[in-house]
């Protein structure tokens, strides 16, 4: 066959070989169809483990209880028993190692998430005692009077 016919053929074959070699090194071994569905299961399998190994930050009430038994006990009998410690105290992560101390959110804004008055009579929001944030002791922090672990003013 003539040289001018073969030359592009060799070029094409070389290009294909190059792509295959690059693909061999670029694409991980575990990449492919995993599971039953080709449409939804085409992926790198080890990524599932990577997501499972993601670090959890919120530890839950039981974790807090290990050291702060009294505080958990107090909060667990009050009307605020529904609220997780970390909603106000912030995620524990590796506390007490890192961070050594948690920054507690004592802002009015935090309390107002539930206790700002909205006139929605059919919403479950209406069942929560609420204040008008523009009128109720505007320049005072809520925790000056209300104990968040036991918010009932008569008892607390």
């Amino acid at each position: 066959m003539k040289n001018h016919v073969l030359r592009p053929l060799w070029c094409a074959l070389a290009a294909i070989a190059l792509i295959l070699i690059v693909r061999h090194f670029m694409v991980p071994d575990d990449f492919g169809v995993n599971g039953e569905s080709f449409t939804y299961g085409f992926h790198r399998l080890s990524n599932v483990d990577e997501w499972q190994d993601f670090k959890a930050k919120y530890k839950g009430r039981e974790y807090c209880q290990e050291c702060h038994e009294e505080n958990v006990a107090e909060a667990s009998t009050s009307k605020h028993q529904l609220i997780q410690c970390e909603n106000c105290h912030g995620p524990a992560i590796d506390h007490p190692d890192a961070p050594e101390t948690l920054v507690i959110d004592t802002s009015r804004e935090l309390c107002l998430r539930c206790h700002a008055s909205l006139s929605y009579p059919d919403s479950p929001r209406a069942k929560i005692k609420a204040i008008d944030p523009d009128r109720h002791n505007t320049d005072t922090s809520c925790i000056e009077c209300h104990n968040p672990h036991n918010p009932n003013l008569e008892e607390g």
Binding site: G35, Q52, Q84, S119, P124, R125
Partner: protein
Amino acid sequence: MSCSRRKLLKSALSASVAASLPISAFRFLSPAECKAATGTEGTRWGFLVDTNKCVGCGFCVKACKKENEVPYEAPVTRTWVERYVVTKNNKLHIDSPLGGRDGFTDQKIRGEEIDPAEIAKTFFVPKLCNQCENPACVQVCPVGATYQTGDGVVLVDRDWCIGCGYCIMACPYGARFFHPVHKVAEKCTFCYHRISNGQQTACVEACPFEARRIGNLLDQNDPVTKIIMTERVAVLKDEYGTKPQVFYLGLDRNVR
């Protein structure tokens, strides 16, 4: 051709046995049907949102952002809470400031004061990725960076995603967004690192009112599965055929 008495009786007997077998015994089952029929093995994560219980405190959004390292100040979030106020003239007011991250503390909606006397109904609707059985976002991914795990959660491979944004456009629920730090597509993972290790998702744990719950749909004794099977639940945008696995109690027709 000869036929002995023994052979005739044998053939007659086998023919009558074969004829007595019901046709249904030969029905071919799909793999999914086989799986369902062989018991409760395996996991299929499902989510239940009770809109009757949500008060719009936004603790779920806050917890999600901190747990999953979604930039706190950026206007993107994996889960969000929408407020719906329907007035008596049948006008709909919807808002979700910062995805409801700081809760709903103001009566005003998008700067508009609404007369309480005019309000017909109000409700809060928490939203998150529906972890669809037929996820449109996975179908459109050109590189295989997003996929469905064996237990039905749709994840994104951050090393493999090229950030083209097709999936963000394809999701009918607007559940995906572009991660401002990793520069890849980002979405709710049902806190895959938590549920795989026997914990609740961060949003479920943070919710004080049990408006959010997660369970294994293949486990008939799971309390969440029981509610989904026995009570009247709805899904969002059923007509898209995506088969969402996030179920809603008390969903209003105005919610889309």
